[in-house]
């Protein structure tokens, strides 16, 4: 089976809010897919469908060969889920909570005990095995949530904002664990609003906005399509209004370049594969502007998409 997930025209509504408006995509074996988009894009709704927590209101969703509408229980046995909001059992210690969850999955006592110990080691919580989730802090809770999603040995892992709100070091630790799972061949589907996380953990990215699939591809391809190649950021040093610089730039930037105002600065995006001429940078510098040059990233692409959406 090449396609682990086949989604066609998925729609989901909560009351009068349309969370998903006809999303279609595939997830292939061994692939890491990242759903990227701002808050309210529909990522969490889609993740809940993929985890077997909700049946789709309409459309077709096949996960691991099963219809998500009729095989919710069987799917939850095979899909590990790390929801955005902790759903840990606050009344059981880390180890006991993992064991209980293993029992919910129908694992035997010996197997559950062994798996729980291994997973606590994997997420670096073995020395906190007796601690209640409330005693673990935000980082520990997310680690425990990941361990819980793996207790049954899932065939697919769905993660919804697994590192949101964590310190960079804590994020890096969880990313390293997800990289280790990747090395073991576990396919993952990550929903995130963090562009760095999406680039790091997604082989292929789906850009969602307002419940629609806006674009998909590798991070590099999406950046090239929506943000360009190079970005120069120009910020007036002495509070001079940026409009002067805009006038300075007009006619000097390469064709197809995009200019955007953001937080008092002016950003120019060159078309993919093109660089700004050094003379332009020099002229801006001489005119009294702080000039920063960098490669365009996924955050720029997402911002460009949102801007385009707002204008249309």
């Amino acid at each position: 089976m090449d396609e682990l997930v086949i989604a066609r025209d998925l729609r989901q509504s909560f009351g009068t809010t349309e969370a998903l408006r006809g999303v279609s995509f595939d997830l292939r074996a061994g692939e890491r897919l990242a759903l990227v988009g701002p808050a309210g894009a529909g990522k969490t709704s889609l993740a809940a469908l993929l985890a077997g927590r909700l049946p789709p209101a309409s459309g077709q969703l096949k996960i691991l060969g099963m219809d998500a509408r009729t095989h919710g229980r069987a799917l939850r046995r095979l899909v590990g889920w790390v929801p955005a909001r902790d759903t840990l059992d606050e009344e059981l210690g880390a180890l006991e909570g993992l064991r209980a969850f293993g029992r919910y999955h129908g694992l035997g006592r010996a197997e559950t005990r062994q798996r729980a110990g291994e997973l606590l080691t994997f997420v670096g919580l073995l020395d906190r095995a007796r601690a209640l989730p409330g005693e673990l802090g935000a980082e520990g809770r997310r680690r425990l949530q990941l361990a819980r999603a793996l207790i049954q040995g899932p065939a697919l892992l769905v993660l919804d904002e697994p590192t949101a709100g964590l310190e960079p070091a804590a994020q890096r630790f969880l990313w390293s664990r997800l990289a280790a799972l990747r090395a073991q061949g576990l396919p993952t589907l990550l929903a995130t609003s963090n562009p760095d996380e999406a680039c790091l953990l997604g082989d292929r990215l789906l850009l969602l906005d307002h419940g629609r699939l806006v674009d998909e591809g590798s991070a590099a391809a999406l950046v090239a399509r929506h943000a360009g190649g190079e970005v120069i950021e120009l910020r007036p040093l002495d509070g001079r209004p940026g409009a002067d610089l805009e006038a300075l730039l007009s006619g000097s930037v390469p064709p197809g370049a995009r200019i955007e105002r953001r937080d008092g600065a002016l950003l120019c995006f060159s078309p993919a594969g093109e660089m700004f001429p050094p003379a332009l940078l020099e002229r801006a510098h001489l005119a009294g502007f702080a000039v920063t040059t960098r490669r365009a990233g996924l955050a720029d692409a997402l911002r460009a998409l949102r801007g385009r959406e707002a204008r249309t």
Partner: protein, 247 residues
Amino acid sequence: MSLLGALAILGRHLRVHRGRLGAALAADLATPAACLLGLALLVQAGAPAPRLAAGLLVAAAGLVGALEGSLGAHRRLRASAFSEGVLASPLGLPELVAAELAFAALRAGLAAGLLAAALAGLGWLEGLALLRALAFALLGGLAMGAWALLTTAWARGPEDLRAFLAGVALPCLALSGAWFSPDSLPALGQALLWLNPLFHASAGAGAIGAPGASGWPPLHLAALLVLGALPVWLGARALRRVLALSN
């Protein structure tokens, strides 16, 4: 529904309560123990001990069932992420509800069992009469747990649970028919008694002295089953909606 799954959730509840067993038993038995003292005074004054003892057993089980099905179940199903966590596993609402009812019945059974041992020790309730009273007390506790679970499903907050305990559970205990003769009630009151699960539990347990035509235990057993099953069905429907459940 997966029986093993429901047992796994029940095992979890027991594990959580393992460390609090003493406190839980003390809380469950405090009121019946106080009633036991009152009962001793009544028996000394010539009141029929077996009847009142059976009524006390039913009341104790009903009270524990109502408390666990409301405050306990609400904490697990509505006020914490516990139910969300379970629903991320292959288990679903049927297992959650079954485990809640089983846990309420276990606690009610434990409280009633300890009280029954005390009553047997005092010689007020013995043999088959004791077993029958215990069985109906357990069913009464289960039915009250079911009503409480329905309240849990409907509750918008803890104040609704308090309203249930003060406005439904305690009147059910007081008006079970064990502490007065149901025949002394007006016709409307007698009709309303039939909606009270603890009336049927008391009647089945032999706690009602002059039951008239309503004294046939199988009839009360059937009424108890209906009054227990209906709120479970309604509560499961409400919980499915509240928890936005999948298949």
